[in-house]
Symmetry: C2
């Protein structure tokens, strides 16, 4: 595993892997199409890696010839009162996880390497960033799209892997890639959960034992939504009823401070009329939550694909 901290080294390491891949292909078959099949898979992270990240690396390993992991806590996606300074870091452990998952190249830049000057250039995706975390965290997604575009320009990946826990991030990045004709395929990967249902997050380490226990209402409320959607009687619930069911489940936890509960189309993130019945919605749906426990803000979501919602007969 190669560990690089500078952009120039990163570009060089990837170019060498691609060149080796091209030479290998030549030995077998001298056609252009063979070289194009050589895939660089990229997993951008903020480190403090958990099994959710590991699942992204596994997927990347499975689908790519070279796997590149980046670890960078990106300052421009944090608001002034957010947890940039306290965001958990553990480089040594992260490198162990990367090694275990068969990563080829780890990119560990400093802030000065990523932003030698404060960036004057920002990428903004409209509409999709105005709801959910975009409303609670102004400027957050501009920071995400800008740093991901920078990383894509450094790595030039064929495939990039993102967890569906940040479903809005997946939708926003997919929109950016489409709109800007970036030559990369976004591969969304399923949420990974603890045995008791808590969605994995680097921020879970902030939780006290009591908060950790009460945070299970998030996944519990989303499981109820899944059950309703699969039930031939209850899938006639309206969006408003689903919303109320989720809200009352979360409110049963006295430590839960709800930031938002939203039921939207996915990936368009458009609102759905509250009176519409679940079984009548024509598009995929996301039920997305952000809930604070003390100073720790957790997010979770469930995506209902149209096929999974029994149709209302």
């Amino acid at each position: 595993m190669i560990i690089v901290r500078e952009v120039a080294q990163l570009r060089q390491a990837i170019a060498e892997r691609r060149q080796l891949g091209a030479n290998g292909a030549k030995a077998v078959n001298d056609s252009a199409s063979v070289q194009q099949q050589y895939k660089v898979g990229f997993v951008p992270t903020m480190g403090y890696l958990h099994e959710g990240h590991a699942s992204l690396m596994q997927k990347a390993r499975e689908m790519s010839d070279t796997v590149v992991l980046s670890i960078f806590v990106n300052p421009i996606q944090f608001g002034p009162n957010e947890d940039l300074d306290s965001y958990p870091r553990d480089e040594a452990r992260d490198l162990e996880v990367a090694r275990r998952e068969g990563v080829d190249i780890v990119f560990l830049p400093t802030v000065a390497e990523m932003y030698p000057q404060p960036t004057r250039t920002k990428i903004h995706v409209s509409a999709l960033t105005e709801r959910l975390c975009g409303a609670s965290r102004p400027g957050h997604f501009d920071g995400v799209t800008t740093v991901v575009a920078k990383l894509f320009n450094m790595v030039n990946p064929d495939l990039a892997f993102f967890g569906m826990k940040d479903a809005q991030q997946v939708a926003v990045l997919q929109q950016m890639v489409t709109d800007l004709n970036m030559n990369v395929t976004i591969v969304p990967c399923p949420i990974v959960r603890e045995a008791d249902g808590l969605a994995l997050s680097s921020r879970n380490v902030y939780l006290s034992a009591e908060q950790r226990e009460q945070a299970l209402v998030l996944s519990r409320s989303l499981r109820k939504v899944r059950e309703v959607s699969e039930d031939v009687v209850r899938n006639t619930f309206t969006i408003r009823q689903i919303h109320q069911m989720v809200e009352s489940t979360i409110a049963s936890s006295p430590l839960a401070d709800i930031d938002y509960i939203e039921i939207l189309t996915f990936p368009g993130l458009e609102p759905i009329l509250p009176e519409q019945r679940l079984s009548d919605v024509e598009e995929d749906i996301i039920v997305a939550l952000a809930v604070k426990f003390g100073n720790t803000r957790l997010i979770d979501n469930i995506r209902l694909q149209k096929a999974e919602v029994l149709s209302h007969v």
Copy 2:
């Protein structure tokens, strides 16, 4: 010369040229560095090509193995009251010019090919876009940076050629490339002028004979600036005096309607104190003009490199 109208064809044509280049290099020397030396040069334009564009293609031909030209009148860089609909177009003549200059691939997309959906993603460069044409044409540079990023992602050029007539555009694009770590070198090329001094522009065709004659005040005023900068006595003029000299020269033309006259650092586009003497400015300087003749807005500029301004002894 290959003419393509779809992004997929463009990518394919460029991949084939790169592959041929790589195979050619292999025959000589099997090192990775040889392949990296294969250069794709890119000249993005809005068509109605003149000798200014031709000079960009010539520079690209000289510095690159494959030359790609794009012709696309980009709607999102025009304001609601600007000349999008009347912008001059002549595809047949443009293709002749491209052929004459030895272009390899011409990309001629439709608006629907470039924007299958209205773009929700915009790239914004701050500070540099707030003065000069950015102040007169709100949103213009977001349209430019966004379409250029799209084209860069389609062509993946090593070199991209832009005329210094749009000096602010060069500065803004260079900032975008640096900030977003785009793997391309911006090559600024000198302004090309008619024998009588008028800077070449596709918009010159709008001018009546009388407007065309009076428009010569632009280049005349800038030549005076050059003379002053090279004169050991007059280069102690202050920025304010230079500004007044340019303004009175342009005002001598009754049809000239001044949009702006600005004297700034280049490429930072920072203001310079009016009391500062020309010879004392520590950075390169740009004197930039936008002047309307009837409905036609012309721009011109002169760049004084520090070495060209005789130092004040």
